[in-house]
Amino acid sequence: MPVMNMIQALNSGMDVLLERDEDVVAFGEDAGYFGGVFKTTDGLQAKYGADRVFDTPINEAAIAAMAIGMAARGLKPIAEIQFADYIFPAIDQIVSEMSRIRYRSAGQFTSGCVVRTPWGGGIRGGQTHSMSPEAFFTHVPGVQVVVPSNPYDAKGLLIASLESGDPVIFFEPKRIYNGPFDGVPDKPLSSWAKHPKGEVPDGHYTVPLGKADIVREGEACTVVTYGTLVHVAEAAAEASGIDAEIIDLRTLVPYDIETIAKSVNKTGRVVVAHEAPRTSGFGAELAAQIQEECFYALEAPVFRLTGWDTPYPHAHEWAYFPTRDRFARAMKTVTEAA
C-alpha cells in the first residue's frame, strides 16, 4: 500500500473526489496555480483545470460564502482557508448562513461543503499562525467539526465530510503534516512511513464522521484528545509508563460520547486535552458531558490539559503548548488522585 504523509493523503482525497464527481470544485488563496502554501492542492489544477481548482483573491468572507451559494445549487465545494487563524473574517458567513441554510429553508437547500484549514501550533508561528479555533465552531449548531490525526484518517474523513452533504469545518493539524510529533520540541521529526496510519489506499474509502478511535488501550486513565496531541499523549504514556487509554476523537461535532463513556467507566480517571485556551475550550464540553454520563464512575476530577488563556505566544511557545512532559504530569495527577 502507498505510504503518504498527511499532505499527500489530503491531496489524494481531493483527487478522488474531483475524479468521481464533476460537481466537486476546490479553491482558496494560492490553492490553484501555486498548489497551496503547504502544497496540499499541488497538481490538482494541472489535472482538473482552472475551472475546477482555482485561486481566489484574499477574502475569506467571500470564500466561505461563495461555497454556500455553490452548494445550494448542487456543487460540492472544497474551500481552503490558508491558516485557521484567517477563518475569522469568514465566521459571520459560517455562523449566520452556512450553518443554517438547511434549517432555515426546512431542508429545501443545504450548504454541503468542506472548509479545509491548517490548524494548531508547534511550528513557532506566533499569534496569527498557530491558533486552534475549533471551539468557536463546535458552538454553532449546523456545522460539523473534524480534526484528523494521521494520513489515513485525514483522507477518509475528508471524503466522508464532503459526502455528508452538510457543512464541515475540517481542521488539519499542520504540525503533523509531515510526520507525527511526540511533544518533545527539539527531537528531529519522525516520518509517517514508520507509522501504521501512514499507509493510505490510493482509491476511495471513508472514515465515518462521529466515530472516535481508541489508539491505545489501557486501564489506568483515559485521555480524550484530537489532532497533534494524540501523538503527544501516546509519547507521554510511553515515557511515563502510565497505562493510559487514549481516544482520538477525530470528529468534534458530532462527537462519540459512547466510546468516551465506555472508557471512562472502565478507568474512572480522565484527562481531556487540546492546544486551544482553557476557558470555554472544547475540553469544557467534554468534561461536562463526561460528568453527566460517568459521574458515579469517576474517581478523580476531570483534568483539563490545555493551552493557557493567553494569545498564542511567539516566545515561550513550549511553555504554552501541552508538551509530552506536561501530558505525563496530567496523567500522573489523575491516576494518583485518591
Binding site: E29, D30, Y33, F34, V37, D55, T56, P57, I58, N59, A61, A62, D85, Y86, F88, P89, I123, R124, G125, G126, Q127, T128, H129, W308, D309, T310, P311, P313, H314, A315, H316, E317, A319, Y320
Partner: protein, 338 residues
C-alpha cells in the same frame, strides 16, 4: 531613523529638483539601513535564530522612506506583517526590532509579537498586523481620532495588492470619505500576494482606481523612485491635512525575495526579478541622482553603507545577547494588571 543626523535643510542646487541635498542623502541612508537590516535578518533566520515567519522588505525601501519624508512628528503609521522597513523608517531602533524577531526581552513587544507584530507608542507606530487587511480600518480609526481631536495629524495606512481585495478595505474607504478622515491609503503593489499575481487576483489591476466609486482620489506612483514617492506622498498628506479627506497612493514596487523566508518564489522567473534589481533598484536610483547632482562622491556613499552595515550588525548582536523574556511574561498584558 536611528543614525540620522539632524542637519539643516539647505536648498537644492539643481533647479528642477523638489528635494534638497540633505533630504536625498538622508533617504539614501535610510534605504540602505533597511536593506542591510533585512539582509542581516535573513541571515539570522537562516541560522535558526529567528523562528516562524519573517517577511523581508528588500526592493520596496523607497516606499516607506519616501512616504516618511512627507510625514510629520505625531503622524501615525500602521501596516501589515512586512513591517521591518516601516519601523526603521519611523525611527524605531534597529536593536529593538531585531530583538523582537529573535523573540527576546529587548524586543519592541518583549518577544510577544515577533516579526509581524511590533508597536512603538513613542514613534506612533501601530503595528505590525499578521491578518491581511486588518490594519486598514484600524488606520482609519487612528485618523478618526486625529480629526476628532483636531490635532492636524494624519495616518499613513499601508497595505498590499493582495490585501486590497479584502472586503473590509471597502467598508473603510466608504467611511473614510464619508467622514473625510485624514488618512493616506498606501497600497504597496509589489505585484504578488504570496504566489498569486495581481492579474490572477484582481479584476481591476490599477489599484489606485479602487477609490473612484467612493470619491477618493488615487494616483499611481513609481514606488522604486524615492523622490517620486515623496512628491506624491507630500501632495496626498497636504490634501488630508487640509481636511479634504483620504487619498489613495498605489506604489508600483517589487519584492526581491520570496514572500517569506520559506518561499522559494517559483511562481515568477529569475529574469523578472533581475530586471528590477538591475534597472530599477531604489537604492541605485537614488545613488545615481546623488552622483548626478554632485551632492556626494562614491566614497561618501560607501561610508553610508558601512554605517548601515555596522548598525545592522550591532542589532544582530543585541538581538542575540538580549535575554529570553521571563516565563511569567507569558501571562502578562492579556488584560490590565491589577
Amino acid at each position: 531613523m536611528a543614525a540620522r543626523k539632524s542637519t539643516s535643510r539647505s536648498k537644492a542646487t539643481k533647479p528642477k529638483s523638489s528635494v534638497s541635498k540633505d533630504q536625498l542623502l538622508d533617504w539614501y541612508r535610510d534605504m540602505l539601513l533597511i536593506r542591510r537590516f533585512e539582509e542581516k535578518a535573513g541571515q539570522l533566520y537562516g541560522m535558526g535564530l529567528i523562528a516562524g515567519f519573517c517577511h523581508l522588505y528588500i526592493g520596496q525601501e523607497a516606499v516607506v522612506v519616501g512616504v516618511q519624508g512627507a510625514l510629520e512628528e505625531g503622524d501615525q503609521v500602521i501596516t501589515g506583517y512586512r513591517d521591518h522597513g516601516h519601523m526603521l523608517a519611523t525611527g524605531m531602533e534597529a536593536d529593538g526590532v531585531m530583538a523582537e524577531l529573535t523573540g527576546r526581552a529587548g524586543g519592541y513587544s518583549k518577544g510577544k509579537g515577533g516579526s509581524m507584530h511590533m508597536f512603538s507608542r513613542d514613534k506612533q507606530f501601530f503595528g505590525g498586523h499578521g491578518i491581511v487587511g486588518a490594519q486598514v480600518p484600524i488606520g482609519a480609526g487612528l485618523a478618526f481620532a486625529d480629526k476628532y481631536k483636531e490635532n492636524g495629524k494624519i495616518s499613513a495606512t499601508y497595505f498590499g495588492d493582495g490585501a486590497a481585495n479584502q472586503g473590509q478595505v471597502y467598508e473603510t474607504f466608504n467611511m473614510a470619505k464619508l467622514w473625510d478622515l485624514p488618512v493616506l491609503f498606501i497600497i504597496e503593489n509589489n505585484q504578488y500576494a504570496m504566489g498569486t499575481s495581481v492579474q490572477r487576483a484582481s479584476s481591476e489591476t490599477h489599484l489606485y482606481k479602487r477609490g473612484i466609486s467612493f470619491g477618493i482620489p488615487g494616483e499611481e506612483v513609481d514606488g522604486m523612485d524615492v523622490v517620486a514617492v515623496y512628491e506624491a506622498a507630500k501632495k496626498a498628506a497636504d490634501h488630508a491635512r487640509a481636511g479634504k479627506g483620504p487619498y489613495i497612493l498605489e506604489m508600483k514596487t517589487y519584492r526581491y525575495r520570496g514572500h517569506s523566508m520559506s518561499d522559494p518564489a517559483k511562481y515568477r522567473t529569475r529574469d523578472e526579478v533581475n530586471s528590477y534589481r538591475d534597472t530599477k533598484d531604489p537604492i541605485e536610483l537614488a545613488k545615481a541622482k546623488i552622483l548626478d547632482a554632485g551632492w556626494a562622491d562614491e566614497d561618501t556613499l560607501k561610508g553610508f553603507d558601512k554605517e548601515a552595515k555596522t548598525i545592522a550588525a550591532a542589532s544582530a548582536d543585541f538581538a542575540q545577547d538580549s535575554p529570553e523574556p521571563d516565563p511569567s511574561e507569558l501571562w502578562t498584558d492579556v488584560l490590565v494588571e491589577g
